[in-house]
């Protein structure tokens, strides 16, 4: 019956709402003879000094479109997105916090945005000092002596970290074969370990959702290069046995790698270096608020213990006794480069701007993030199933177990939340919670917003009981309704094609 209403209303709404809700492709707005740009007249001879055979005639199919159409197209398209600035975006593991605008302003200063990394050192002192200062701050926050800013995102940071471990082990004669990774870990962990040339061995979590010490003990051997541990883990649970874990790993000559994507839970409160962590990547685009931009860019600095510093990616930023800064390429034991230039410098600017705004009070970030997550946990316990009752730090993972009995999945709940004006939590991750609803509110959500979210989630739970179809058929009010993802993979259409070129 509710399906009927939904359908009728959809039809009705089509009649009342005749505006087409789909925006054509930019190519479909194109029309011969239109133009959207102009360039200065060429002030040198218009020479083409390249052999004919190496040239193309035109970029067939490319757009011809005016500036006003481009402005409208992208403005209209943007309005189909949900974003942090519209409301709660509680994607677990993603740390979707407020992105202060001052950071954008700073990153766009011509002295940062219109600068080339291969300019002479004497006219690059501002950038070098900025990188150096950010490194110092991240070292202070992690309690580890040195940091590379080069990795482009978390995953590349993981790779860099494991490669440094490998290099250090190689120096001992044996790079070892295996990296241990808990079953709750993010997918990039095993993938990065693999691309660093290691086999991955999965560690089963215990009933508390944490590392099973005896399982670790028996898995840990002199074949194991490292344990990759997420702190707190992807359930939001802090490994309270962290010191013991470190001891076990170190005892066998292995390294303790910390996936710091969840640093938001304890930044400014505790230091990984004191926990026995040897190497840790951070996501500036999570903990340090550089905006996620619909998928990126990120930046994944890696902090390392003393033993790993010789292996940092090349170049490092160093300070001379006279206070000037330079790039040090002369690092024979470096793992090498992971990319061009110095890394995602624009993200360094934003992160430094963000950290400067908190300064020595940055622990407030973690405190508030943890209170918020626990408040949601308290508000939804009993309504949604909590597989692991271990205390949460910055995020909480419920499941759809209760709702599944009414035929409603976590995905349905996620979609229905959209109708309530919220972005859904992360679903289907971590893998150890079937039907997961992984909720990370971050510190930048206030009580009224959390209360609204909690009551929406409770309301949806009620709908699952009383009118499950309204949830199963959700969303009802988004720019498009449920999107056929299976169909997309089945009939792959990955690009627009000019007319005549066939689908």
């Amino acid at each position: 019956m509710s399906t009927e209403i939904a359908e009728r209303s959809a039809r009705g709404s089509d009649r009342l709402h005749p505006e087409p809700r789909v925006e054509p492709l930019v190519f479909e707005r194109s029309g011969q003879g239109k133009i959207g740009y102009s360039l200065p007249p060429l002030d040198v001879p218009a020479l083409v000094a390249i052999p004919e055979a190496l040239l193309r005639k035109e970029i067939a199919g490319e757009t011809e479109i005016s500036e006003v159409e481009v402005a409208r197209h992208f403005t209209r398209l943007s309005r189909l997105n949900f974003s942090i600035d519209q409301g709660l975006y509680p994607l677990g593991s993603c740390t979707m916090k407020h992105n202060p605008r001052i950071n954008e302003e700073m990153a766009r200063l011509p002295g940062f945005a219109a600068v080339h990394p291969l300019a002479p050192e004497e006219v690059s002192q501002g950038s070098l000092e900025l990188a150096w200062q950010l490194e110092r701050i991240l070292a202070e926050l992690t309690g580890l002596p040195r940091v590379t800013l080069q990795p482009s995102a978390g995953a590349q940071g993981e790779l860099a970290g494991i490669l440094m471990v490998r290099k250090a082990l190689e120096k001992t004669g044996r790079p070892r074969t295996t990296v241990l990774i808990p079953d709750s870990a993010h997918g990039t962990n095993p993938a990065s370990a693999h691309f660093a040339g290691y086999k991955v061995r999965e560690l089963k979590s215990n009933a508390r959702g944490t590392i099973d010490l005896s399982a670790l003990d028996s898995a840990m051997s002199e074949d194991v290069a490292a344990l990759m541990l997420t702190v707190p883990n992807t359930l939001g649970v802090f490994e309270d046995q962290i010191l013991e874990i470190a001891r076990i790993v170190h005892a066998k000559g292995g390294y303790l790698y910390c996936d710091g994507a969840n640093f938001n839970a304890f930044v400014g409160i505790a230091k990984p270096g004191l926990m026995g962590v040897d190497v840790m990547h951070m996501n500036l685009h999570k903990t340090f608020s550089t905006p996620h931009g619909g998928g990126g860019p990120g930046s994944g600095p890696v902090a390392v213990c003393e033993a790993l510093t010789p292996h940092l990616p090349r170049p490092t930023v160093e300070r001379r006794p006279d206070g000037t800064f330079f790039l040090d390429f002369d690092r024979p034991d470096s793992i090498g480069r992971l990319r061009t230039f110095l890394g995602n410098f624009g993200m360094f600017v934003r992160a430094l701007s963000y950290i400067a705004a908190y300064g020595n009070r940055i622990g407030e970030v973690a405190r508030n993030a943890v209170v918020n997550a626990n408040y949601i946990r308290a508000g939804l316990s009993g309504v949604y199933h909590l597989k692991y009752e271990t205390p949460s730090l910055h995020e909480v993972v419920f499941s759809d177990k209760a709702q599944a009995e009414r035929g409603v999945s976590n995905m349905d709940i996620a979609k229905r939340l959209m109708d309530y004006g919220f972005h859904p939590p992360t679903v289907s991750f971590p893998l150890i919670v079937h039907g997961a609803l992984m909720i990370e509110p971050t510190e930048t959500e206030g009580k009224p917003g959390l209360d609204a979210f909690i009551s929406a989630m409770r309301e949806i739970a009620r709908e699952c009981e009383e009118d499950p179809d309204i949830v199963r058929n959700a969303p009802h009010t988004t720019p498009v309704r449920r999107v056929d993802e299976v169909g997309a993979a089945r009939n792959l259409v990955l690009r627009w094609r000019p007319a005549g070129e066939g689908a």
Binding site: F74, P110, G126, F195, G294, R495
Partner: protein, 448 residues
């Protein structure tokens, strides 16, 4: 704290609801021994942040205030006001990866359009949603080729590929038991054709050539492709100056199986080297081995056209260690900037940018060659960058030019000590003739 919306009173109420008496109780699992507050300065206000970071920024030479001729895989091209300002929109800036398509159609459609633009430029059939930047894009392309051509362990790379790309390849390869064979350049600056043929054999899974190569010389994609295909290897075309594809014969027309590289030139500011915009494009029969995200077209429940991420089973969040790459966060916002830029310039504008850049570089090249004591190092055709040779040490020379407000080029000694007198000079549509004449005069006065 201004970014924290919870008042003291609200916090008390929340703690009560949680059932703890203090925030610290929530951190009980964190051992005392590892707790330590940071030794950082006091918080700064916006006014102070502007002074602090503004002060640092002012100590860098920026391309707006100088006569600017640096390239080397990163170029000072035109970025329209609209491409810049559009990125401020919260809906673009503060959205996550579009995992939930119903509330992410903006991002999804933009990526779909970006993929389409890249295909049109490369002349290939499929493109992904972006990679970090050019060097790691080449690595991804090589690893993809290795998966496609199973059982082979060697990649043949032209020495004309950007040295930082090649260094990156070595970083990744060493631990995977893969090998690199480097093919030198001939005296005209292009990859040595004979050496290339000789280097490829049945152990080769890929041949990669860059054009315009790092030294500025335009290569013929077909040379690499036929060498590769003759031995069942894949041909990879590397492009570090993406706007060149608007003028030069594209990878797809030169037999490439994969094209990859750096698309920063297409609407992304230099950002001191990052964020940039890696791209990867390939033939459709290889699409299931492509790394990174892909957006596909589909329908919603009411039959409307819609877009979503697709073929996710290639990716780490599903496939974990068997994924085609470990990449997760990519360069989404830069792909958007580039989509806006390419759409705005379009067919004619991209070509005009390429033509102007080329014409200006030719003007400079001719003039530099005419200065006594200087020469152009290679005879091969160039696009918008060329290798010049100075009468003396290039790095020192270029440092002296800086004092005249000229960033005249990149000393090649940075990459190879033997190239002490050589430097790269790049020109784009942003350079005026007057600026170029200043550079020429400055170089001439330095030789005197």
């Amino acid at each position: 704290m201004k970014f924290l919306p919870t008042s003291e009173g609200e916090r008390e109420a929340m703690l009560a609801a949680i059932g703890v008496s203090s925030v610290e109780d929530l951190f009980a699992a964190v051992p005392e021994a590892v707790r330590r507050g940071p030794a950082l300065p006091a918080p700064l206000s916006e006014i102070e942040i502007r002074r602090y970071l503004g002060g640092l920024a002012s100590r860098n030479a920026n391309a707006r205030d100088t006569a600017f001729f640096l390239g080397g895989g990163l170029y000072h091209h035109y970025v329209s006001a609209i491409a810049d300002q559009m990125l401020y929109r919260s809906e673009w800036l503060t959205a996550y990866t579009p995992y939930q398509p119903e509330v992410s159609q903006g991002t999804l459609q933009s990526i779909f359009e970006f993929q389409s633009h890249i295909c049109l430029l490369t002349g290939l059939e499929v493109a992904n949603a972006s990679l970090y930047e050019g060097a790691s894009a080449l690595v991804e392309a090589l690893l993809m080729a290795e998966r496609l051509v199973k059982g082979r362990r060697r990649a043949v790379l032209s020495a004309g590929i950007h040295p930082e790309y090649r260094e990156t390849v070595r970083t990744y390869f060493t631990n995977l038991g893969l090998e690199v064979v480097e093919v030198p350049l001939s005296s005209d600056g292009a990859t040595d054709a004979r050496a290339l043929e000789a280097a490829v054999d049945s152990t080769t899974f890929a041949v990669a050539v860059q054009s315009p190569n790092f030294y500025g010389v335009v290569e013929d994609w077909n040379a690499g492709s036929s060498a590769a295909h003759a031995h069942g290897a894949l041909s990879i075309s590397v492009v570090a100056e993406a706007i060149s594809m608007a003028l030069l014969s594209p990878p797809g027309a030169g037999g490439a199986d994969i094209a990859c590289g750096e698309a920063q030139s297409l609407g992304v500011p230099m950002h001191n080297g990052g964020p940039l915009l890696g791209f990867l494009s390939c033939r459709s029969d290889h699409q299931r081995q492509i790394p990174g995200r892909l957006v596909g077209q589909t329908r919603d429940a009411e039959g409307r056209r819609a877009f979503c991420l697709t073929l996710s089973t290639r990716e780490q969040h599903i496939r974990r260690e068997k994924a085609t790459s470990n990449i997760c966060t990519n360069q989404g916002l830069m792909a958007l900037a580039s989509n806006i830029h390419m759409s705005l310039l379009g067919k004619h504008g991209m070509r005009e940018v390429a033509l102007q850049s080329h014409a200006k570089a030719e003007y400079l090249k001719g003039a530099v060659a005419a200065i006594p004591g200087y020469r152009v190092a290679y005879g091969g055709p160039t696009f918008n960058e060329f290798t010049a040779e100075a009468p003396g040490d290039a790095a020192a020379l270029l440092s002296r030019l800086v004092r005249k407000g000229i960033l005249g080029g990149i000393p090649l000694s940075r990459y190879d000590a033997r190239d002490a007198r050589r430097f790269l000079v790049a020109a784009t549509e942003m350079n005026t003739r007057a600026e170029m004449d200043r550079l020429i005069a400055a170089l001439a006065s330095e030789s005197a």
